[in-house]
Symmetry: C2
Subunit: 341 residues, 2 copies
Amino acid sequence: MTVAASPRRELFREIKQSASAPDIAAAAALLEIGDRLGVLEEISTGGKFTASRLASIGELPESGVARYLEALESAGIIERVDTDGDFFRTVSDYDVIRHQAGYVSWTMNANRPFVEHPREFLIDPESARAAYVRDGRQVAVSSQWMGSLAFYPAAFEAITEARPTRVADLGSGTCRLLIELLDMLPGTTGLGLDLDQGACDAAKDAAAHAGMSDRLTVLQRSIQSLATDPGPLLDADVIHAGFVFHDMLPDEEHIADAVLANCHTALRPGGLMAITEAIPYVRTERERRFSSIVTYYHREFMTRKLLSVAEWEHKLSGAGFRHVETVELGFPTGRLFLARK
Amino acid sequence: MTVAASPRRELFREIKQSASAPDIAAAAALLEIGDRLGVLEEISTGGKFTASRLASIGELPESGVARYLEALESAGIIERVDTDGDFFRTVSDYDVIRHQAGYVSWTMNANRPFVEHPREFLIDPESARAAYVRDGRQVAVSSQWMGSLAFYPAAFEAITEARPTRVADLGSGTCRLLIELLDMLPGTTGLGLDLDQGACDAAKDAAAHAGMSDRLTVLQRSIQSLATDPGPLLDADVIHAGFVFHDMLPDEEHIADAVLANCHTALRPGGLMAITEAIPYVRTERERRFSSIVTYYHREFMTRKLLSVAEWEHKLSGAGFRHVETVELGFPTGRLFLARK
């Protein structure tokens, strides 16, 4: 069944998505420029900074950084801490500005090879897929901007409500979700599983920084490996998987099914499987346009299959789960599937 | 003086600029893909079309075009003409969707070399300017989308109100503005002046198509040439210049001044000089963010100088004009300067 999002489960529905097209376009470009200059992370901390400090971090001429900050300030993205000083900080709705910019940056920058070469993909898809490959860093950065306020708040709330003793996250990246969860749930342990060595290294550093190295285990291995060895999942009472299952579809659908069945087997009785995914071609006014580009990119250019709500419910039932609940996310075309063992 | 835009002079202020960031991003990508597939022009006519027809125009496999149309339809950008047929057409607010997409496409696609290489520009601007050059076609296409509803409506109204017998347009491109003006003013003749041979050829074709070859002269030459030979401008009672003067600044400012003085001399008594330009770093809430990226792109990456309202008024007075009036445009950071001889 599909349930309306409750006020508690959909904390971030109210983020201001609406703005003018010129505003949204400008913010995306200004933030991307900051990212490429290597200074955006420092700007985004919320603390105060100077052109001189950013020039040192980015190994850039200070005059050039000062002109970049002039643009950010005039755009209303940063502000002077005091009128006389050289210090700036981000404006109070900076998180929303960056979140909005994320949609533009993911759609127009991270997926740029598809926008620039659709003719090649339509005429000779196999050669095009080999020739026009996305830049993984641009995908990661824009996904983080876009997802920061919209991917996981519903999952976060559902998982904390379940009060788990052990949580596993499949495709955990830098373990941001797990670290936030463990911070909220002091007695809980976590397992992050990701194929990317760099992400796992960053996750271990972040866990150490948060004083959670004893509670958070990071495993560098593929999701597919769980089809034959579900060992790491034993004792979990919550397993979350964010945007990883569709990467196995359609070619490895049998492996995805085996992973899902093993998740069911490994979970403790009453345990929760939480899957955040994109569904294809949603037609509501709020979601239809972004859903279209997400679906089209996946089908035409990435040869990925997105499952509908009915197909997910069928798949989860087939793996042995009961009570599949579908939650609409703030992220258009995103859904959280909550399935009980 | 700066006057508030009158309801008549600012016809398109009410275009819906506001939408959600995911919507705006998705529309930009979907329309750019159509442009690169070579089918968007046919889609944009407003007439009905089929996948088969577009496949033939774009020399593409029909199945691929059908999947592209599936995406556009699901996005609510086109709709089926009737539920059984194979015919589609654009939705009623298609012009607004494309206009919004124009801001994203200009900012994130046409100016992409600047977004991708800011470090190189900050460290070694001269080499960067030689190495990272914009794609002229992407600039032209996105400017046309963006400008269609926002660049020239105020100029159009001011010029038609002046009931000129002869209008000159400097940087006339494909003469879209002149053809619309001459269509509205049956007794009027026009002169379009542009450096680009391809644009001039397209302008002549368009004039012939509109049955205006006898009333509309297209001259392929530089704006700068008017500094020494204002001959083509003689007998004009309106001269319009859209976004061409700033291309001479700062390096050719003396030439720009001479062109402006010659415009004043050539105009009939009581004649009107109408200049559409971008002004730098506007700080109103409506304009500040887009104004920032426009200013930053021009200053940092194109080494162009944008003049403030006061600087334009000074320049026009210096050329001999009286009664300089400044009109705020729907296009953020855009102004129309109306100066009388």
